[in-house]
C-alpha cells in the first residue's frame, strides 16, 4: 500500500508541477524540434516527482536516491516523448468516425504502454536483481501505464465528475499512478520477500 500510495502521489504531483513549469518556463523552447523539447521537459519533471516519491517507499538501501531519481526522470522524459509521437501517429491513422471509446482507447493505451516502457526500462537498470524479477518489472510498467493512461483519459473525458474536471492534471496523474503503482507492486512484493529470505544476498546488482 505504501508503494501504491507513493506512486499515486508522485504521478499526481508530477503532472501538476510539470504543467506549471512547462507553461511558465518551457514556451521559448516550443519552436525547437516541433515541440518535442517541451514534451521532453514535461516528462522529465513528471519523472523527477515519480522517482522522488517512489524512492521513499523503496526498501532501504535497495538503490541510491540520485541514481533512482535520475533514471526515472530520463525514463519518463523519453517515455512521454515516444508516447506523444506514437499517439499522434495513431490519431492520424485511425478513422475519426470510429467510436471515441475504441479509437481513443487504442491511442491512449498504446501511448501509455510507450510511457511505461520508458520508465520501466530506465528503472530496471538500477533496480536490484531480486526486486525486479527478471523482465517482469518492465512488463508491469508497460501494462500498468497502458491501462492507467487509458483509464485516466477515459474517466476524464467520458465521465462528468466535477472534482476530477476541476483538478484535471492531478486527477490524471493520480489515476495513472494508481495503475502503475499497483502493477509494480505485484512484482515488487514477491521480489522483496525473496530478497529478505534467508540466504539471499541483499542489494545485489547486475
Amino acid at each position: 500500500m505504501r508503494w501504491i500510495g507513493a506512486s499515486v502521489v508522485g504521478y499526481a504531483l508530477g503532472a501538476t508541477l510539470s504543467t506549471a513549469v512547462v507553461g511558465a518556463i518551457a514556451r521559448p523552447l516550443s519552436p525547437l524540434a516541433g515541440g518535442m523539447i517541451v514534451v521532453f521537459v514535461f516528462g522529465a519533471v513528471v519523472g523527477m516527482m515519480i522517482g522522488t516519491a517512489q524512492f521513499v517507499a523503496l526498501p532501504r538501501g535497495a538503490v541510491t536516491g540520485p541514481r533512482w531519481i535520475l533514471m526515472t526522470l530520463l525514463g519518463a522524459a523519453v517515455g512521454f516523448s515516444v508516447a506523444a509521437v506514437v499517439g499522434e501517429a495513431l490519431a492520424n491513422a485511425i478513422d475519426p468516425t470510429l467510436s471515441v471509446a475504441i479509437g481513443g482507447g487504442v491511442i491512449q493505451v498504446t501511448s501509455g504502454a510507450a510511457l511505461g516502457l520508458g520508465i520501466g526500462s530506465a528503472q530496471w537498470i538500477v533496480l536490484p536483481r531480486q526486486l525486479r524479477m527478471g523482465r517482469s518489472w518492465i512488463v508491469s510498467n508497460v501494462v500498468g501505464a497502458g491501462l492507467g493512461y487509458g483509464a485516466a483519459i477515459g474517466v476524464l473525458e467520458l465521465l462528468e465528475v466535477p472534482i476530477l474536471k476541476t483538478n484535471l492534471m492531478s486527477s490524471f496523474g493520480a489515476i495513472l499512478g494508481l495503475f502503475v503503482g499497483a502493477a509494480q507492486a505485484l512484482v515488487l512484493w514477491p521480489g522483496r520477500r525473496r530478497a529478505l529470505s534467508p540466504g539471499a544476498s541483499h542489494g545485489e546488482r547486475e
Binding site: 510539470s18 515541440g35 517541451v38 499522434e88 468516425t97 485516466a152 476524464l156 473525458e157
Partner: protein, 173 residues
C-alpha cells in the same frame, strides 16, 4: 531548496489564467444582423488552427465565422482545450445541426492548447505553439460575440463547433 521550488511552483500556478479580457465587439451591434444564418462581419483567422491535434477529425465548413450567443457551460478537457457550450442567438441557430442535440442544443466552442494536455496525441502539437491564445475566456452566463473556424466534429456526432476559437468579446447592449 525544496522551499524555493515549492514557492516557484505556487507563483507560477497563481499566474495561470492571467490575460487581457476582450471587452467590446469590433463589429456593429449584434441586433443589426438578422438573416436566417447571419455570419456577421468579415472574420480573420489566426494561426491557432495549426495547433489543433488530429485535424482529420474535423471537417472544415468555413475558415472563420463571427456569431453571437450566451455561454452555458465551460469545462477543461484532457486534450488541453476548454470546452464552451454556447446557446446561439436566434439569428445564428441555423449553424446548429442534429448532432448538437448531444451537446444540449448548444454550439461547442473550443479554444485550443489552454494548458499542457495529457492526451498523448495532443501533447506535441500544443507544445509546438510558441504563442498560444492566452486571453481570458468568457464566463458562464455572458452574452458574447465569438470568431472561430466553423467545423463538424466527426468524432462526436458530427456536431457543429467553432474550433479553434480565434477571438471573442462582450456584446454591447
Amino acid at each position: 531548496m525544496a522551499g524555493r521550488f515549492i514557492g516557484l511552483a505556487i507563483a507560477v500556478l497563481m499566474c495561470v489564467g492571467c490575460g487581457i479580457r476582450a471587452s467590446s465587439d469590433p463589429s456593429a451591434s449584434a441586433s443589426s444582423r438578422g438573416t436566417a444564418v447571419n455570419l456577421g462581419p468579415a472574420c480573420t483567422a489566426t494561426d491557432q488552427d495549426q495547433y489543433v491535434y488530429r485535424p482529420v477529425r474535423l471537417r472544415v465548413i468555413m475558415p472563420c465565422v463571427h456569431l453571437t450567443g450566451t455561454v452555458v457551460t465551460s469545462s477543461a478537457e484532457a486534450d488541453g482545450d476548454i470546452h464552451l457550450d454556447v446557446r446561439l442567438d436566434a439569428s445564428y441557430e441555423g449553424l446548429l445541426n442534429p448532432g448538437n442535440l448531444q451537446a444540449g442544443g448548444s454550439l461547442v466552442v473550443e479554444p485550443v492548447c489552454r494548458f499542457p494536455p495529457v492526451q498523448a496525441e495532443a501533447i506535441r502539437v500544443c507544445a509546438s505553439d510558441p504563442d498560444p491564445y492566452a486571453d481570458a475566456l468568457p464566463a458562464v452566463g455572458e452574452h458574447v460575440w465569438l470568431e472561430g473556424r466553423y467545423v463538424l466534429d466527426l468524432q462526436h456526432h458530427a456536431w457543429a463547433e467553432l474550433h479553434p476559437l480565434y477571438r471573442w468579446g462582450i456584446v454591447d447592449r
